[in-house]
């Protein structure tokens, strides 16, 4: 069967270490962390007090004031990223059949900020004082719907919620929708605004967040012996995926091709990864098979900086690539971006596409003393120029939801 090919024609990103693709990419090339002390809410009584806050972000630059006022922060990120991605793709929505344009976005948590505020209000002032906008603001699919409403896209519209794999799942499913002919274009990616007192406190209670409060920029240290948990951040990314012939016909910029996708489950535990990493190895192998390749030039690791994940992922990479594993650079950009839950896989997809476009492997910063259980080439502390024809990107979510994506140089 001759499958329809899918290319990336535009991207938008909002992250703690840069808003807009160019600023964000420069930060990743230069190894610049976006992690700092949290001041979005009072974290003074919590074990972790650091995170990746998006600062200086003005939603009004990307949407009408009326819209900005009526949606939650995670939707601000989605609308802003969609706006940037559409501009970059030079897509003229008016010239397209709107029923052939879908929106598939990942979000682990939805409109948590407003949710918390309204729960407090309901208990303080009475449940008959709940804001009538609560449901449409809080529901996780608000982000896909608001993008659809704003641009008039009438194709498949959905949100995928698989914790830390949400953004990658969304991209994979959008890729399939286009491959299978259910859409010609999909705006896809992930968004998250998880820096709220309840949510952050809940992650602290799980003891999965770094407590390295004295050194925020050094706290996210994937594969380092001194790693003590992940650093939560907020943000989002949206990619315009497009059927290749459609993109070529309209003279769109073709940034890269999506060539492989696989998703599976470890069926093991809601929080812990399978220590053998068999499910992670399985999903990587399946994505490679989907792309019809057996080796890649670069791996964008899930690499959260937790003790369990980084060792299991290393084991899984070695299981998949065998002796070749030591020759494949593995970048862990969460060292700079932090972990933005449902947005992470999408933000890292932007990294993958730029790595291909610029033939550059971004660094894993804060890697001073490698964990003996983590013995691959993690591009420590300094990015590296190299030919990047293909990238494998991993995203593993709580509940053992695993996704691997393959991106390749456009040809």
């Amino acid at each position: 069967m001759n499958r329809r090919r899918v290319v990336v024609t535009g991207m938008g990103v909002v992250a703690c270490n840069g808003t807009g693709v160019e600023e964000f990419w420069r930060a990743n090339v230069e190894g610049r962390s976006g992690i700092g002390p949290i001041d979005a809410f009072d974290a003074s009584d919590l074990t972790s007090q650091i995170g990746g806050q998006v600062r200086g972000f003005d939603p009004g630059l990307y949407m009408p004031a009326e819209t900005a006022k009526r949606v939650d922060r995670f939707v601000h990120f989605g609308l802003a990223c969609a706006d940037m991605a559409l501009k970059a793709s030079r897509l003229d929505p008016a010239a397209e059949d709107p029923t052939r344009i879908g929106v598939i976005i990942g979000s682990g948590l939805g409109g948590l900020l407003f949710h918390e505020e309204q729960i407090v209000a309901a208990f303080d002032r009475g449940a008959n004082r709940i804001n009538p906008m609560s449901v449409p603001r809080i529901t996780p699919n608000a982000v896909a719907s608001q993008i659809g409403i704003r641009h008039g896209f009438k194709g498949p519209n959905m949100v995928i919620s698989t914790a830390c794999a949400s953004g990658a799942h969304a991209i994979g499913e959008a890729f399939r929708k286009i491959q299978h002919g259910e859409a010609d274009i999909c705006l896809t990616g992930g968004v998250e605004a998880p820096l709220t007192r309840f949510n952050f406190g809940a992650y602290c209670a799980m003891r999965v967040l770094s407590k390295n409060n004295g050194d925020p920029a050094g706290a996210s240290r994937p594969f380092d012996l001194g790693r003590d948990g992940f650093v939560m951040s907020e943000g989002g990314a949206v990619l315009v995926l497009e059927e290749r012939e459609h993109a070529l016909r309209r003279g769109a910029p073709v940034l890269a091709e999506v060539t492989g996708y696989a998703a599976n489950s470890g069926a093991h535990h809601m929080v812990m990864p399978d220590p053998e990493g068999a499910d992670a190895a399985g999903v990587m192998s399946a994505a490679l098979r989907d792309a019809g390749i057996s080796r890649v030039d670069l791996i964008s690791a899930h690499a959260t900086s937790t003790r369990a994940n980084d060792a299991a992922e290393t084991r899984a990479i070695k299981a998949v690539f065998g002796g070749d594993a030591h020759g494949i650079p593995v970048s862990a950009t969460k060292s700079m971006i932090g972990h933005s839950i449902g947005a992470a896989g999408a933000i890292e997809a932007v990294v993958c596409v730029k790595a291909i476009e610029q033939d550059f492997a971004p660094p894993t910063i804060n890697l001073n003393q490698r964990d003996p259980a983590c013995d691959l080439d993690y591009v420590p502390n300094q990015g590296r120029s190299l030919k990047v024809g293909t990238v494998l990107s991993n995203s593993f979510g709580f509940g053992n939801c695993n996704v691997s994506l393959i991106f390749a140089k456009a040809r």
């Binding site: 009408p64 004031a65 009326e66 008959n128 804001n131 009538p132 906008m133």
Partner: protein, 85 residues
């Protein structure tokens, strides 16, 4: 609060909600036909009025409200019966 003050406050709330110039909102402006407030928009508007004036508007009243003046008449009636507010 005089009727004029109530009307001004209602018009300000409407203008902010709809993102339009307050000068275009008149007492006899009809919410649906002239200002484009749909049925869910009316629900939101009632909530904002409740917050601003500190009252609870029963569902039965919402059905009778068609114009800006209808809102002002209802609010001034309520405020005169609840002078403490």
């Amino acid at each position: 609060m005089t009727n004029q003050e109530i009307e001004q406050k209602v018009r300000d709330i409407l203008a902010a909600k709809l993102g339009i110039d307050v000068g275009t909102i008149r007492g006899d402006s009809r919410l649906a036909e002239d200002l484009g407030v749909d049925s869910f928009g009316a629900v939101e508007l009632m909530f904002e009025l409740e917050e601003a004036f500190g009252l609870k508007i029963p569902d039965s009243e919402i059905e009778h409200v068609r114009t800006v003046n209808d809102i002002v008449v209802y609010l001034s009636g309520w405020l005169s019966k609840n002078p403490g507010r």
